[in-house]
Amino acid sequence: MTNFQLWPLVAAVSLASTGLAQAGVGEPSVWSFSGFGTLAAVHSSEKEADFIGSNQQPNGAGRTHATSLAPDSKLGAQISAQFTPELSAVLQVMAQHQYDNRWTPQLEWANVQYRFSPALRVRVGRIVMPTNLVSQSRHVGYANPWVRPPQEVYGSNSITSNDGIDAAYVATFGDAVNTLSGFYGSGTAKLAPATGGTAKANPSRGINNTLAMGETTLRIGFLSTKLDLDVPHLQALIGGFNGFGAAASAIPVASIQAAGAQAYALAQTYALQGMSRQTLSIAALHDTGDWFVMGEFSHFMGKSLFANANYGYATAGYRHGPWTPYATLAGFKTTARTEPGIATAGLPAQLAAGAAQLNAGLNTTLAAAAAASQKSLSLGLRWDFMKNAAAKLQYDHIDLGANATGPTTNRSSSYRPGGNVNLVSVAVDFVF
């Protein structure tokens, strides 16, 4: 992702406020400028770790400061251009607290769209991956009921951007509107400081179908990615298996050679290049205008170092004038897997110890990936107190599964995984 200095964002915001980007009335302008933002404070009950809003943040609320503006505050600015009725382009940058402790604006969207017909549109460039129902607008607090989208579903991917192509085909059946869309490209992300390194999705591809029928919207999506992980401690582990394989294969004893072959095979199975990841997601939303219910469920097919996971949430809300109270139940459940590893029986003591160490390292990594279960209950209130702005108050009770650390980082030596975290958040979302 390209790093920008802060000044283009400030310049763009100044441009908007002087009205230079506004169209003359009665004539559509080619250019339009818009933006969104959230100013939010969150207080966490967990004193030995920091609650974070995105899994790439290096610190947050709880340990560093009891209450913090960092996890959820953000500012986005967008320039849209409609060159002809068919050809348009979008550029969006967004600033939030990120992996290097700065707020450098990042390029979220940068693409050119061509509308072949009212039914078919194609985009080339950078898009945000449509992994789940509101993935592409998860940062736009004003568009969403919650202070933050349920992290059990929306927090699980580090790579959220795709550089490539996407297309959508819209068909109507009576009053129902069906949109079939797909994307293909690649994306990268810097991983959380605790893990270190980067992840690259190449290719990243997905297909999804959304059916909007009056008050009800249904969506199904399938995402398939090949991931390359450039993470030092994992590379050391896989390197260890390859090293063992090389050493064992050089010794002309059948049982040792067999162990060597096993080590090579394990290095292949758990290789950090071309790791296959697949997710199937469904979503449903029913919104009458007066009340709404929405829910999503995803199944992540765990392979290699990734644990199998099922996750989802359900939210309900009721609107009374400018007030929308809402409640959410969410859960994330992983299935643990163990790997027998290299058979140590019949190996000389030194090799057996080496193999055992590698096996332990592998199983620790698998266990860590699986120690991510949690459930949560959120209660909140949204108040649309003025045009283009909404205030929110939200309470979250997160019940972490065994050995799970949840959405935290910067854990002290006294930190105990599992247990509960209580959050209180106050946010103001706005669009301009």
Partner: protein, 139 residues
């Protein structure tokens, strides 16, 4: 005496806050209009267009705060101004489309739809004349 007046003032203030904007609009009909010769539209089709689900027509809006605009959205989509803004924000910031073009008044709506057969707008029924066709009447 003083405390009960203060209590009353608080109660009225809280009630006013909870009741939202005053429902003082007259029950005038809102007409969705297009160029003469256009086919009628159903309420669901108008809702799909004005919530950004369908991009087949060029959409026109009256200015924000205009009572006809508020009536139109309430009757066609069952949503208030904030909910409509939230729906369009999702679309705009996903790069999928642009919200309706704002024009100042009914006369401007009529000029715009008469000039472009792929345009649609809404005005008070009382403002309808021969220059436009009513494709949907919202009570």
């Amino acid at each position: 005496m003083k405390s009960s007046r203060v209590d009353l003032a608080w109660t009225i203030a809280v009630a006013a806050l909870l009741c939202g904007p005053a429902q003082a609009q007259a029950q005038t009909q809102v007409a969705v209009v297009m160029a003469p010769g256009s086919s009628p539209l159903s309420k669901e089709q108008v809702a799909n267009l004005y919530l950004g689900r369908l991009a087949e027509l060029h959409l026109l809006d009256l200015p924000e705060g205009n009572p006809t605009r508020e009536s139109f959205y309430k009757r066609a989509t069952a949503r208030d101004a904030a909910q409509v803004k939230a729906a369009w924000s999702r679309i705009v910031f996903s790069g999928w489309g642009m919200p309706p073009r704002e024009v100042p008044d009914a006369a401007a709506v009529k000029r715009a739809v008469a000039a472009d057969p792929k345009s649609v707008g809404y005005i008070e029924k009382l403002a309808v004349d021969g220059s436009v066709k009513v494709v949907l009447l919202l009570e």
